[in-house]
């Protein structure tokens, strides 16, 4: 059972394209996923993230381009020859085998005779050792998911792929599994590539996120980078929510740009400006806004003349819709920590926010 030459290293995708007839699922994708990191491919349905994952797994072949692990080119290697394992969306546990045999499957196929120890170890990792003689049909969804994970991890692959593995779980269980997955990844040290459409999930778990749309990567970076400084409208709206207000640059002030926002002057840090020209889409996240009653003294960037048109209670926070004089409704999240006075529909308010939280995209971008 020698592991002759262990394939390892960063995962590299070079100009990978996949077409199905006329439809381009993945469009000239190039990507480097560092060894040992937790990487998320985030995007809406149909953006190509699952297709990309399947190409890495070997379940689809790229129409063009290369896939490498370290120096080894695995583009044409068959799935069963790649040191890559997948946790499938519907778990795909073999219904005719016991849990033990399911987990041992990959080990046995590689010719390993003594599977007992490795299987026990990984079953203990997911805390399901007591179920090892049951069949998958007898397990709950959450348990099946953990077994699917164990079955993949036990093989110590160079890469572990997760295809929306938490989709079928209820919220509480999902949150729990997110924490567990992250913990297992750090314990075991394998590169995880996680595909999901849930931006909260991606932000909680991943070291690096790539946001995909229409077969291309819109932006890649750490969760904080992507969230605080999105480079496209799509990313800004896919991760969390954003308010976009049209404005234009009128001057500079030290490290900041002075921007005319519908008649008010606000400060925009130069480092947070992704626009090319002077016409801007200025973005402010709803939670960055502060609400002030009409006669309060306010500092920072200010937009006044708003009227509350809707209030929704979210438990942790309250969402306000504020109609501004230029007839745009802005979204505001305020934490329910007593910092905001009791407001009602129709109340006049002003909005303020710290300049450092402003970001700007090109005025013509979509």
């Amino acid at each position: 059972m020698a592991e002759s030459k262990k394939v390892q290293g960063d995962l590299v995708l070079e100009h990978v394209t996949k077409t199905f007839g006329d439809f381009v699922a993945v469009d000239d994708l190039s990507l480097v996923i560092p060894k040992g990191s937790f990487f998320a491919l985030l995007g809406p349905s149909g953006c190509g993230k699952t297709t990309t994952l399947r190409m890495i797994a070997g379940l689809e072949e790229p129409s063009s381009g290369k896939i490498k692990i370290g120096d080894t080119d695995i583009t044409t290697t068959k799935a069963y020859e790649r040191p890559v394992n997948t946790v499938f969306q519907n778990y795909a546990l073999f219904p005719h085998l016991t849990i033990f045999e399911n987990v041992a499957f990959g080990l046995r196929r590689r010719g390993i005779k003594d599977v007992e120890e490795a299987v026990e170890k990984v079953l203990n990792l997911v805390e399901l050792s007591h179920l090892k003689n049951r069949k998958p049909g007898q397990l709950s969804g959450g348990q099946q998911q953990r077994i699917a994970l164990a079955r993949a991890v036990v093989n110590r692959p160079a890469l572990l792929l997760l295809d929306e593995p938490l989709g079928a779980l209820d919220l509480k269980l999902r949150r729990q599994m997110q924490i567990e997955l992250k913990w297992i990844q750090t314990e075991v040290g394998i590169t995880f590539v996680h595909v999901t459409h849930d931006q909260e999930e991606a932000m909680t778990m991943a070291d690096t996120i790539a946001v995909m749309n229409n077969g291309k990567i819109e932006q890649m970076g750490s969760p904080a980078d992507l969230y605080e400084n999105p480079s496209t409208v799509f990313v800004a709206n896919f991760l969390g929510q954003s308010n976009f207000i049209e404005g234009s640059v009128t001057g500079t002030d030290g490290d900041n740009l002075v921007v005319d926002l519908k008649g008010s002057k606000i400060a925009l840090p130069k480092s947070r400006n992704n626009a090319k020209g002077n016409v801007l889409k200025v973005g402010i996240r709803p939670e960055k806004f502060r609400l002030h009653q009409a006669n309060e003294k306010v500092s920072g960037n200010v937009l006044s003349g708003g009227v509350i048109t809707d209030i929704s209670f979210f438990g942790v926070s309250t969402q306000y819709l504020v109609e501004m004089p230029w007839k745009q409704e802005l979204m505001v999240f305020e934490q329910n920590d007593g910092g905001v006075p009791e407001l009602e529909k129709g109340d006049p308010v002003a909005l303020s926010w710290e300049p450092q939280f402003t970001f700007a995209l090109d005025g013509n971008s979509n």
Partner: protein, 298 residues
């Protein structure tokens, strides 16, 4: 609106009795029919088995004497045909399995746009009388048919040999007749396999052949069990193939039963033989199912 809602809640809380009553009402006619025309005749068959010829020695007249020795006599006199029947049935089943499994696999996994057409072709034999089909085989394999002529020409067969009137042709006939019964259940089982399981198997280092052995084959077992039963059971009781494609040396227990009913009017013997045949099949089937481990058959 209040009225409609209250009536629907009434139904939700309707006592189980109403449902059970409807169920029995639905079941009654069909079940009665089966009891009267299936179960009762079988009991009647058992009863006839223990009769003996009437003292008047009139043909067709028998009296009930509870002569259980009838079973032993019937079996002893026809041991050869019994064993031959099960042997032929076993051969036909194995042969049919060998032919049908790859065919079912091809249709389920490799047929692409031809799938429906192939399925229709598999059941196409049902669209012609099976007697005509078997007679066609008799022609094809017969002394004046193309197969024998070709084989004789190629010197594989000696010039006076025949294929018909041998065990080989009877088994071939049985195999052909029940091929759809073997192919369709296997196909249904294979078709039902979630292809993601096959992907998972590949993901876990199993190549094509190993995936077949470890995943596809086990998961197709219910179909294989159903197919083998649907082939073996009717084959063991068949007599048409033996009559048309075989010689009296190849006669099966079905032939004997048939002749005991119509040629030699010996109802007790015929009934005993039928009973023994059915009992044996049931025993074999139960053992087989226990070993194969399928829960639901119907």
């Amino acid at each position: 609106m209040a009225i409609a809602h209250s009536s629907s809640t009434e139904k939700a809380f309707a006592p189980a009795k109403k449902s059970t009553r409807t169920a029995y009402f639905l079941l009654a006619p069909g079940i009665l029919w089966l009891l009267v025309f299936f179960a009762f005749p079988l009991i009647n068959l058992a009863e006839t088995s223990t009769k003996t010829p009437a003292p008047t020695f009139e043909t067709g007249e028998f009296v009930q004497t509870f002569r259980f020795a009838n079973f032993f006599d019937a079996f002893a006199a026809n041991q050869e045909q019994f064993f031959r029947s099960f042997f032929y049935a076993l051969c036909a089943t194995l042969l049919a399995l060998a032919i049908a499994y790859p065919l079912a696999y091809a249709i389920a996994f490799r047929s692409g746009p031809w799938k429906n057409f192939l399925l229709v072709m598999v059941i196409a034999p049902f669209f012609t009388s099976f007697l005509l089909r078997t007679l066609a085989w008799k022609q094809i394999l017969g002394a004046e048919g193309p197969v024998v002529s070709t084989l004789q020409f190629l010197r594989i067969l000696p010039s006076d040999a025949t294929i018909t009137a041998t065990a080989f042709s009877v088994i071939m006939g049985l195999t052909y007749n029940f091929l759809p019964f073997m192919t369709l259940p296997i196909y249904a089982s294979l078709d039902r396999i979630d292809y993601r399981l096959l992907e998972a198997s590949g993901d876990l280092y199993a190549n094509g052949a190993t995936t077949f052995r470890k995943v596809t084959l086990p998961l197709s077992m219910p179909g294989v069990v159903a197919g083998t039963l649907l082939t073996f059971i009717p084959s063991s009781g068949d007599y048409i193939n033996a009559q048309l494609l075989g010689s009296p040396d190849n006669f099966m227990i079905g032939n004997v039963i048939n002749s005991r009913f119509f040629r030699v009017v010996d109802y007790p013997t015929a009934s005993s033989l039928s009973f023994i045949l059915m009992a044996t099949i049931l025993v074999l089937v139960v053992i087989y199912i226990r070993r194969a481990g399928t829960d639901e058959l119907v």
